[in-house]
Symmetry: C2
Subunit: 250 residues, 2 copies
């Protein structure tokens, strides 16, 4: 008794098979960024399916950011280098449909930016310090130009710190969450009356953080970074969410 144990079979669509094969070829490095896939008509030969099926598979891979195809291109679909675009997309929908609050987003930024500073203070090279210096200098110059330029310099600073942390996940997540937050409150900041005072204050904060990073004092840099972000965003966060944010301050 107890014959062979069978496994439940899920009917797997034809296009999924194609997706899997091409995806694996990309992830294993057999298909490198910049390389081209055969044309759709040739693929339908290789997989022995119809053209529609091939196209559905290509659409999925395109949606995942692995491929790009243009009409009329005789070279076939292009294999793309990885970009956090799909990560960005899925986090954005998470933020929308799950009604992620601004408080949660800012809190996450405090965690990421704090950690990035903690690590950057330990691991930074002179070149990376120079990038941060340049970013702060650009912020000073941008006060007279406009908020958009200032914001770009601000982003450059945080990017430099994230890179110096040597952790790609921190880098990418930081980037994604930041752009979501900025999108949410862009209009509110633009309306502010005393943008110039805000910018000057922000510069002073960044200088403080940078000094701690330069001195190699990780914990202090992290603490300052979190505090700075709290001060900068707390005004836009509803009262009842602020207590949770303060949980990350000391």
């Amino acid at each position: 008794m107890g014959g062979p144990r069978f496994e439940p079979v899920r009917t797997v669509r034809a296009y999924e098979r194609i997706v899997e094969q091409i995806e694996q070829a990309v992830e294993s490095g057999k298909l490198r960024p910049g390389e081209r896939l055969p044309s759709e008509r040739e693929l339908m030969g290789q997989f022995s399916v119809s053209r529609s099926t091939v196209r559905e598979a290509l659409r999925v891979l395109q949606a995942r950011g692995l491929l790009r195809s243009r009409p009329g291109d005789p070279n076939g679909a292009e294999v793309l280098p990885f970009s956090p675009a799909t990560l960005h997309k899925s986090m954005t929908t998470l933020a929308r449909v799950d009604e992620l609050s601004l408080g949660e987003l800012v809190q996450f930024r405090m965690v990421l930016d704090g950690s990035a500073n903690l690590l950057a203070a330990r691991l930074h090279t002179p070149e990376e310090l120079a990038e941060m210096d340049a970013a702060v200098e650009a912020m000073r110059a941008a006060v007279q130009v406009g908020y958009d330029t200032f914001s770009a310099a601000d982003v450059a600073f945080h990017d430099a710190v994230a890179r110096a942390s040597r952790n790609k996940l921190i880098q990418v997540c930081n980037d994604v969450v930041r752009s979501i937050v900025l999108n949410l409150i862009a209009d509110k900041i633009a309306d502010s009356d005393d943008r110039e005072a805000l910018m000057l204050e922000s510069i002073r904060h960044h200088e403080e953080v940078l000094e701690a990073v330069r001195a190699g004092d990780g914990p202090r840099a992290a603490r300052l970074a979190r505090r700075k972000m709290y001060d900068y965003y707390v005004g836009y966060v509803p009262e009842e969410e602020r207590e949770a944010l303060r949980g990350l301050l000391e």
Copy 2:
């Protein structure tokens, strides 16, 4: 001079238009999870495009985890509740194609789990504490059963902490990165000779962390959680990456 300023036009595919419309309907709440889309034949009428175009759009939405369709279902495609599946997918490909090192992944877990404990110590309810207690108890019971059961209880503990942090992003990212790490080293742990000693040690560590959380000592809970994770995984991380991990210890 200075005629009207035109904007560059990008040819937008028909199926993209459909994706945008349906996506927006879902994100704006006009289409709620559990609801059904019209059948493909009806959609081709509403959008006045061909069947294939509709199908390509549906495939993309399916790949993004917003829809599910089954053959023969008279109700049409189903709108799914958001799941971090696509987030998981894109992080996994990031890990693969960008050759994310185990060190980076563990480091990120140290950041997330540390922060989760820091917040949980402040915000936990009695019910959440009970969940954590139950998880540790399950770990004790699982030592005699096997590593798989033990690992499941371990995951349950970290999940409970993440939930108690009240931050969905920490929760989701924690979940995603953890499963990637576990996949990477599952075989190595299974091969270990002294799994039982490892499990007992792990339980002791969890008890310590839980005590700090119960006492409401956030910084201590965070420090212990990071230390615990470092100790647990450092053996699998190559020498040259360990220094960066130590940057998160005090």
